[in-house]
Symmetry: C2
DNA sequence: TTTACTGCAAATATTTTGCAATATC
DNA sequence: GATATTGCAAAATATTTGCAGTAAA
């Protein structure tokens, strides 16, 4: 896992990967990377597609999927599969985040836990060689918890009024 | 999470859940449960479907999906989403297993780690109330590692022979 | 008798693939 | 000029849904 700090370093990562694999330097690949760098830390393909369209640089679905795969191979993105919806992509920064997924709003919070990472880096499993791991926690975020409580309070009040 | 030990206890779990929710005791539900009890600890819908067919008790896809969902609600099964393929289901036994997924053969090994469970039960996350968690480790199982090594050795030997 | 449940077929959502046209090397 | 890459449309995969008929309560 490489620590990635700035735009140039990431573009160079792509350049090196393309060179190493004998792949071509197409405008699509660099434009998509440019857009990825402007995205939030975690996003889905659809977000990326819309962002490309907003910046008047449409590419086909196949190119978008292929290119994002390429970025995963190049160590620029990390793919995480959290639920039965679309894959999520996290910009690689050397941190393997814990994913806090809210059952209510579906939002994903990324939690950096260096202790847990250190534990995992040291940890061995029987008859198995680790490449990567994914730790996802499901529950309710405080925003939704508050909203639900308020809604319950309001529903109760409305019921009382009707009697 | 309820500790589940035997067939009768699980059938009773279903009975109780149906009664509590005012749902009907259909033959499909009990037949599917019977089959689930004969499945390995971890399976996918397709496996279950085939097993039902082998035992000459076909149900429709919708019923199978609905019923497995029902079993998840009843605490009989746990759904885990591991890759971009189908959902996996694990028979609930009060243990939240670590999932070791082999990149090569796709097989999933369930690893019971009571220390990790205790750690997770105690662990709190900021602004978040935990309901469940899923810990998946990706890598290469020893069987595949050995196979790959052997194949590489054989490929080398074949190359040498051709020269 | 009421309506929850089943099964069928069609819809949905996400991703992959085959192939002709294009652009990089 | 050779072929990797793109874009389009269609296919593949997994699951959900609408609805008419059936059966549990």
């Amino acid at each position: 896992m490489t620590e990635v700090n700035n735009t140039n370093a990431i573009v160079e990562m792509l350049e090196r990967h393309l060179a190493a694999k004998g792949m071509r330097r197409t405008p699509e690949r660099f434009k998509i990377l440019e857009q990825v760098l402007c995205m939030p830390k975690e996003f889905v393909i659809e977000d990326l597609n819309k962002a490309m369209a907003n910046n008047s640089f449409m590419v086909s679905q196949s190119t978008l999927y292929n290119t994002v795969d390429l970025f995963v191979d190049a160590g620029i993105l990390r793919r995480i599969i959290i639920d039965d919806g679309p894959s999520h992509y996290v910009k690689e920064d050397g941190v393997n985040y814990i994913h806090l997924v809210c059952d209510e709003c579906g939002k994903i919070k990324l939690l950096k836990d260096l202790n847990f990472m250190a534990y995992m880096n040291a940890r061995k499993f029987p008859a198995f060689t680790t490449r990567d791991y994914n730790f996802t926690v499901y529950g309710i975020c405080n925003d939704c918890a508050r909203r639900i409580k308020r809604e319950q309070r309001e529903a109760k009040a409305a019921k009382k009024k009707n009697h």
